[in-house]
Symmetry: C2
Subunit: 228 residues, 2 copies
DNA sequence: AGCCCTTATCGTCCAGATGACACAAATTAC
DNA sequence: GTAATTTGTGTCATCTGGACGATAAGGGCT
């Protein structure tokens, strides 16, 4: 007994690419060139192709939209959005991914990327096409949790960074100030979070800070919990 | 410039329904009646229908396979499985859900459910059709994490339960023994985890235990972390 | 009844983690 | 030189969680 009422549909991947930039949590948005929602901001994304895996499609879109090779990059899958009428063109199910990257120059490469721009999350919230506002909210919430339980904060930083840089990431993403001294102690004492390079950076002002690179550990144990 | 190479595909929902039964973590499996993988064990599931949301489809399948109304039940979406050739019949992308329920009688209602049976996870691991082994592994891992950070352990229990019942859930899912005294202290002192009923249960042996029902809180703060 | 066995529950102790914060160190701005 | 700024070390009180002793409350047994 096989019901033939099987929905056939297209699968989209959408990207919530976050960075910390100018002391704010920012997201990469594009301006839609076509209907529906022409002219409105949206998350970059596109359809999966025949015989293409989903994460492969996400990395391809990432490359097309930002010119960046996501080969080594951490892509975190968010929950699927599949409301029947979420896309006026027909049944489209979206698999959104969260990507995290350092503050790189505004992307320019790729045909679709001409309208791509970093914009503060606080500013775009509530203005995106489709159900991308929900996706963005989920991405931000996921990022906050990832900072608690993984070392992924280093993905927001350049390959080499100071503890102060790392703290700025936490403070910006969480939206709350942290004690520099306790934070430093915590990070340095956590095995595998960061690794000393021996170098120091001269900031504009203040004492030079030791430079670190990401340690080998992915999970953070014990976690760095927010006080709620 | 629109590429027309858009994969059209069918969307399946699969259910990893877990329970604690006979001191073991068990999963509801069906025996496939049709090719491919005819006669082999698999997770219950089916295709989404036209104009049907994904979670709605999951709850419908749950009802069809187990005869249980998943209306109030917590369904946790796992990560999407979309390898191009994961299903020999064509492009099928699966959205798996984790469901948790108390030890109910073996389900019998529903046409597809005639072959449904609880089986220990340890026993079925590695024997499932499609990529359902991977899905099951992810479901178990997710369940373990949920016990750490949410009050979802109560979903494994009857509507009214003892702290000992709850501890048995943790011990079975985590696969490690816990100190009854510390566990009790932790649970009772955590605001909103459990709520006293005032009743007691007379077990076959030992001192009567106070009965509780689930508290209002969903998140567990602070979490109950496994010692790793 | 009296004893033992079992499970539940309370209390104590201590090690380790965390928050608050004083203070020293190393640089730039003036 | 002095002030300002940021980094980093140290201290201390508090809280949490693990280990575990002791007591409570039932049933089964003799």
């Amino acid at each position: 007994m096989i019901s033939r009422d099987h929905a056939t549909l297209r699968l989209a991947v959408d990207l919530a690419i976050l960075t910390v930039r100018e002391s704010a949590l920012q997201v990469l948005t594009i301006t839609r060139a076509n209907d529906p929602f022409r002219g409105q901001a949206a998350l970059p994304g596109g359809f999966t192709r025949t015989d293409e895996g989903i994460e492969v499609a996400a990395k391809r879109e990432l490359l097309e939209e930002t010119g960046l090779d996501g080969a080594g990059m951490h892509l975190e899958q968010l929950s699927v959005y599949g409301e029947p009428f979420r896309d006026p063109r027909g049944r489209v199910v979206s698999v959104p991914y969260l990507a995290i990257m350092p503050d790189l120059p505004v992307p320019t490469a790729g045909s679709d990327a001409s309208t791509a721009a970093w914009r503060p999350v606080a500013e775009v919230r509530g203005t995106l096409a489709f159900d991308h506002d929900e996706i963005l909210d989920e991405a931000v919430e996921r990022a906050r949790r990832l900072l608690e339980f993984t070392t992924l904060a280093t993905a927001f930083c350049e390959p080499v960074f100071t503890i102060g840089d790392l703290r700025a990431v936490y403070e910006t993403v969480w939206g709350e100030p942290l004690d520099p001294r306790n934070f430093s102690r915590k990070v340095v004492n956590t095995e595998g979070f960061v690794e000393e390079t021996g170098e120091k950076r001269l900031p504009g002002v203040g004492r030079p800070a030791a430079l670190y690179r990401p340690g080998g550990q992915k999970d953070l144990n014990p976690p760095i919990l927010r006080t709620r």
